[in-house]
Each structure stands twice: as C-alpha cells, then as structure tokens.
C-alpha cells in the first residue's frame, strides 16, 4: 500500500507542505539574502573588475586589483596595526570587564543606578564618543590636557607634548583607549549575566574545601564563566575589527595611512580606487567569516540551537 505513496496527488501535497512556511519565513529570508548576502557576491565581482574613478566599470581586471593592493607600500603597516588594534583593545577590554563584572556583581545600595550608568557609551553613537575624546584631547584647551597639566604631567598647554593626536604612536594609543571605553559596557554586562548564572552553592563548596577567595575565583568562577567569556570575546573581536568611527573621527586614519586599520584603509581606498578597495574588503570579509565560524562552533556545541 505505501509503495504507491508518490502518486501525483501525494506529491502535490508534499510540495504544498514544503511551501507552507514560505509566507512566514520568506520575507525574512528575502531581506537577509538581498541586503546581507548579495552584497558579498557583488563585492567579490567588483574586486575582479576595473572601476574607473568616476565609478563606471570598464571590464574585467583579473587579479590586477589584488596585485595593486599587495603593492601598496602602506599595507604592511596597516596589517600590523590592525592585529595590534584588535588584540590589545579586546585583551584590555576583557581584563577590565572581568574586574568590573565582579565589582558590579557584589551587592551594595544603589547598585542598579550605578550599573545603568555603565551603559551610556554602549547606547550613545560611537561617532559622538570619539568626537568628545577628540575635543577633550585638544592641545590648547582639552579637558584631559587641563587635568594632566594640573597634575604636572603635561608641562605646557598647547605644546607638542599636549598634542596627543598629532603623532601616530600616541594617537593610536588614545584611540585604543576610546575603543576599550566603548567596548566595556557590553563586555561587562555579558560577564555579569554569566556570573549570575553561577549558583552560590559552588562558591560555598569551594570555601568548605578551604579555598581562599583568589583560589576560588581562579578554579571555580573563571572556568564556569568560560562560555560568556568566549562569546563576549568573539563578539568584541568582530566589533573592534569592523570599528570605523573612532579612527575616522579622531585622525581620519592619517597622515597617509599611518593610523589606519584595514577597515579605515578600505574606506579611504574606496574614494578613488573602488576595485582595490573591494579586494581589501574581500580579505576583511574572509577574516570575519572565519571568526563567525569559530563563534558558531562555540555556540552550537552544547546544542544551543533552537
């Protein structure tokens, strides 16, 4: 009897069954495909196309765009700066966030209000935060320089020493500081969520076994915090790698490419060399995909899907 299951009628019913989710899921899939996935195809195609400076395509370019990208004298420095930018910003952010999460997890009066002050840099536009820091670092009148001058660290207002954004080295350090500042709220909250998931009994058990505070943190809290630590680190890596407004607003990535990461270099290239910029975008994108795959592995390992 079941052998005749694939009569035309049954097959039609099967198709109908398969199409049933379409009105519910279809629009979402269409929007994601058209806005998020299709640009990837366009981007790869563009990286193999000759684009004149007026934006019109003048035919295939083969690997030419990739060749000229590799021959950019600034590329080596940009790659090194990008690696340092991501590693230092994410590393410092996670260490400070661990301490902040611990601090804001202890009970004290007014904790809710204190905690919600933490979110300001997360809610505000990063562009705005970057501009405030550029203003506060002004060599002649910036608030940070006024304070440093009062403490005797800056010897004279308006001097070369007070012009922190004026030389690439100190400018990078300042911008990393801003990047840490805007990454802290999310990281701290993610770790706070992780800390709240750890039952009190675990700490009590550690105390009964004679573990000191520091010892119990290292061998009990930290391992249990691992999932949130991993997720927060990966999200931060992607955010910090893609970060554009801080560098754009504080130094425009210049002079030259001396304070650029690969994201700002891509943006600067795009203004006159679209094909080459597309080649760099493809490289950036491949890196993000690798990070995202790592993220998927971590999050789906414990059957987290659905």
């Amino acid at each position: 009897m079941t052998a005749v299951a694939t009569t035309p009628k049954r097959r039609l019913a099967g198709v109908k069954q398969a199409l049933r989710p379409l009105p519910w899921i279809g629009p979402a899939v269409a929007l994601i495909v058209a806005i998020v996935l299709w640009p990837v195809v366009v981007m790869v195609k563009t990286s193999f196309t000759n684009i004149a400076s007026d934006g019109f395509s003048t035919g295939g370019a083969g690997w030419k765009n990739y060749h000229s990208l590799l021959q950019e004298p600034a590329l080596g420095g940009v790659v090194v700066r990008t690696l340092l930018w991501v590693a230092l910003v994410v590393g410092v952010t996670m260490v400070i966030a661990l301490a902040l999460a611990q601090l804001f997890n202890t009970r004290f009066p007014g904790r809710r209000i204190a905690r919600s002050a933490l979110i300001a840099p997360w809610a505000a536009s990063v562009m705005v935060t970057a501009l405030v820091f550029r203003w506060a670092l002004d060599p002649n009148s910036g608030a940070i320089n006024v304070v440093l001058h009062a403490f005797g660290i800056v010897h004279q207002m308006g001097s070369h020493q007070a012009d922190w954004l004026g030389s690439p080295g100190t400018a990078m350090i300042c911008m990393m500081g801003v990047a840490v500042f805007v990454s802290l709220p999310f990281s701290t909250y993610a770790l706070l969520a992780g800390l709240q998931g750890i039952p009190d009994e675990v700490h009590e058990a550690a105390r009964v076994d004679g573990a000191g505070r520091w010892r119990s943190y290292l061998s009990v809290t930290l391992p249990l915090l691992r999932p949130s630590l991993l997720v927060a680190t990966l999200i931060n890596i992607i955010n910090v790698f893609n970060s554009f407004p801080i560098i754009w607003e504080m130094t425009r990535g210049g002079p030259g490419y001396s304070t650029s990461t690969s994201t700002t270099m891509m943006f600067i290239l795009k203004q006159s060399w679209v094909g080459e910029s597309a080649a760099l975008s493809v490289a950036n994108f491949v890196l993000v995909v690798i990070i995202a795959l790592a993220f998927l592995r971590v999050t789906t390992k414990d059957g987290g899907l659905g």
Partner: protein, 292 residues
C-alpha cells in the same frame, strides 16, 4: 555558666567585628563602583558642558566656564538641524517597523513548527548576526548603484533593517519558544481562530521581547554612521541623518564645536534613556544560545 557567657559574648564580639569589617570593605567597593559609574558618563557630561559654553569661552583652558549659555540649542535649528532630525526618525523608525513586520512572523513560525529547512534558517540567522556593513560596504554601495531605489532614506531603511533583522529574529524566537503552545490551544478551544489566538495570547506575552527588539533596532539604526556617511555624503544636507549632519560642523579650517555638541547631545540623550529601559534584556539576547 560564667565561662559560657564569656565565650558567647566573645563570639558575638568577633561576629560584630567581622560584620563591621565586611561593611567597611563593602563601603569601599561601593564608593569605587560609584566612581567608575561617574567615569562612564563623564564624556557625555563634558559634551553638555562644551555645548553650554558661551562662544567667548569655547576654547578656554578650564574644566567649567564661568557662565552657561543655551544659545547653541536655540540657534542650531536655523542650521537645518530639524530636517536631519526628521530624516533620522524616518530611517530609524522605518527600519524598526520593517524589522518587526518581517521578524515576528518568521520568529513565531520557526519557534512553533518543525519544518524542512528550519535548521538552515536558524543557522542563517545566527551567522548573519556576525555580519556588519563595515566589511562589505563596497558590495552594498555597488548593489544599490545598480539597483536604484531612488531615495537615500529608503536605501538606509532597507540596509539598517537587513543588518538588524537577524538579532530581532533570534531574540523573538527565544521568546516565542518560551510561551507554552497550550495557551494558544486553550484559546482556540474557546473559539478563537489561529490568528486571533496569536494576536490575543501570544503577542502580548511576547511583548517584552518585542519591545527589546524594537528599541535595539531603533538605536542601532539611529546611531549608524558608516553606511549613512557613504550614502548621503554628497547629498543635500537635509537628506542626511544626524550622525552625518553633526559632521558638517567640522569645516576644513575650523570646527563649530558648540553646535556640533548641541546636536550630538540632542541625538544622544533620548537613546541613552531608551537603552536604559531594556539594559537587562539585551545581553541575554546577544548571548542567547550559549549562555543560559
């Protein structure tokens, strides 16, 4: 008898001493926490101070000016700032409406039904949460160059909706999945249709999730800078959202910091308040699936 009382009171004394020590460390910790909290809002206070400086003291090397001046907040409207505010509202509002209209049915269906391709769909959603416009800006720009939709506002609505959709589906899926299907079935037994059961029972119960997705999408689109800069840089300034318009006060030789920060403050304060309303729930959504 007297021995026991002595040791008892001694124990009490010791307990009191430890309690006092704990409360003094607690006091230190809370002072530290308040200090850090102030540090996090300090840049935004400095922004307000800068916007309120009288023009004559704008570049004075002091922390606080001798008087405050609200002139920047009244004169900013004659620089066309109102039009930028409207554009930002249109972009963020439009993107939010589109995201909710598309995400609610998708999240509901994938939470309630097992169907072929459900796993693929959920992986697509989870993976695209990791994609940001920054790493594919060239592709987005070329795509819209070929496929002209006519208005940069509409383009920015579509792009912001596309890139925020995944998070909304993800967080709503978790909410719908947590609402027992029996509640809908009971309503249907009482004579509700499938759709009115959804509208009367499920959606109200999922309201916290919907509000979270709504506010999160709105803020993300409101604050978005890189794509907006790319799509509206050469446009007439009225078409530019606030994030781009604020940068128009940066000239080649001088910067109108007063208007810049007045505008930035007007753009920032509402979203900080909105975000404070949903602070607790966003992290749960961002890390859903791994941190339970």
């Amino acid at each position: 008898m007297s021995v026991t009382t002595a040791s008892l009171s001694e124990a009490r004394l010791r307990r009191q001493r430890t309690r006092r020590r704990i409360s003094s460390t607690k006091l230190m910790l809370s002072v530290l926490a308040y200090g850090i909290a102030v540090l996090f809002i300090l840049p935004y206070l400095e922004m307000a101070v800068a916007a309120l400086r009288p023009a004559s003291q704008l570049l004075a090397p002091n922390l606080l000016p001798s008087s405050l001046d609200f002139h920047n907040f009244t004169s900013i409207w004659s620089t066309g700032f109102g039009g930028n505010l409207v554009t930002s509202l249109l972009i963020a509002g439009g993107a939010t409406v589109l995201v909710l209209a598309v995400a609610i049915p998708a999240a509901f269906y994938s939470a309630r039904h097992r169907f072929r391709g459900r796993g693929v769909f959920l992986v697509l959603v989870l993976a695209t949460q990791m994609f940001q416009p920054a790493s594919m800006l060239v592709g987005i720009q070329r795509e819209f160059l070929n496929f002209n939709v006519g208005s940069s506002t509409l383009e920015l609505i579509l792009i912001n909706a596309g890139f925020n959709l995944a998070f909304a589906v993800w967080i709503l899926n978790a909410y719908f999945a947590s609402i027992p299907v029996e509640l809908e079935e009971a309503a249907m037994l009482d004579g509700c249709s499938r759709l009115s059961a959804l509208g009367r029972i499920t959606l109200p119960l999922a309201a916290p999730g919907i509000v979270t997705a709504l506010i999160f999408t709105f803020i993300a689109a409101w604050n978005e800078f890189m794509v907006a800069l790319t799509f509206t840089l050469g446009q007439s300034s009225g078409r530019q959202p606030l994030t781009v318009a604020v940068n128009n006060y940066i000239g080649q030789y001088s910067i109108d910091w007063g208007h810049l920060f007045a505008g930035a403050l007007i753009a920032t304060v509402p979203v900080i308040i909105l975000f404070a309303l949903i602070e607790g729930r966003v992290v749960g959504g961002l890390t859903a699936g791994s941190v339970k």
